[in-house]
Symmetry: C2
Subunit: 118 residues, 2 copies
DNA sequence: GCAGTACATTGATGTCTGTCGATACGAGAC
DNA sequence: GTCTCGTATCGACAGACATCAATGTACTGC
């Protein structure tokens, strides 16, 4: 039999977390969730990866086209992409031998909301 | 003569960094700058501090009122506040024996802009 | 089946970061 | 001046993280 992963966690449901920081004081769990998402953006390599994905006309980019632009080894880029996917900021999709990555606009928008003024 | 600090660096000029991630691909230096600001928000304690400052009616909060709400030692809170100030997200002002902290709305707005869609 | 390509995972290493106790500094009160 | 209170800095430690070489896994083509 072929081993298949459970579909349950296929799409991260990490999208919207919190009301704006300035609306009411964050609870500790809310702060934890938000901090993890900001942590995913707190690395220059990951920011450039997100930027590469977000600026792409087609909306998705092959992993093979992400290694050279950021100037890191293939395993390092793969690691960073995983961090972004785990944070729910990016999705991945296998197409044949390649894996294509794309941003999750709703997730970035949720972070914008968290930073909004009162 | 009374010693006065130089006005040059009084207000951190770290405010606006970059065009939206989705507008054009970040350069490495831009990514570095942005990453530092997101890193300042990538900690639950600091997020709660920012939230405490941002939700305050008066717009500024005494350091003495920030220790208990976040449940960390006074040195730890002082450290986190320094990180936020260094990132340009928060300002500090001495008033007598106390130090008052406030958010820098323009800095948070700049981060929102960076996250904006195309 | 086998070989080759594309990506992920593992393991090791050096660096960064959050935390706290102890201590220093600055400002007001006396 | 001294004392006290509020805040910042120092030093140490443990845990987290970025990085890469080596290796594993999944897919395609033959």
């Amino acid at each position: 039999m072929t081993v298949r992963e459970l579909p349950v966690l296929d799409q991260p449901e990490v999208v919207a977390c919190c009301a704006p920081l300035a609306a009411e004081v964050l609870t500790a769990p809310e702060a934890d969730t938000l901090a993890k998402q900001f942590a995913a953006l707190a690395d220059p390599v990951r920011l450039r990866l997100v930027s590469l994905l977000a600026t792409d006309e087609g909306g998705a980019v092959c992993a093979c086209d992400l290694v050279e632009p950021v100037g890191r080894s293939q395993p390092t880029v793969s690691h960073h992409l995983k961090v972004l996917v785990d944070a729910g900021l990016v999705t991945s999709e296998r197409r044949g031998r390649n894996v294509w990555y794309a941003t999750v606009p709703a997730a970035l928008e949720a972070l914008r909301t968290a930073l909004a003024a009162r």
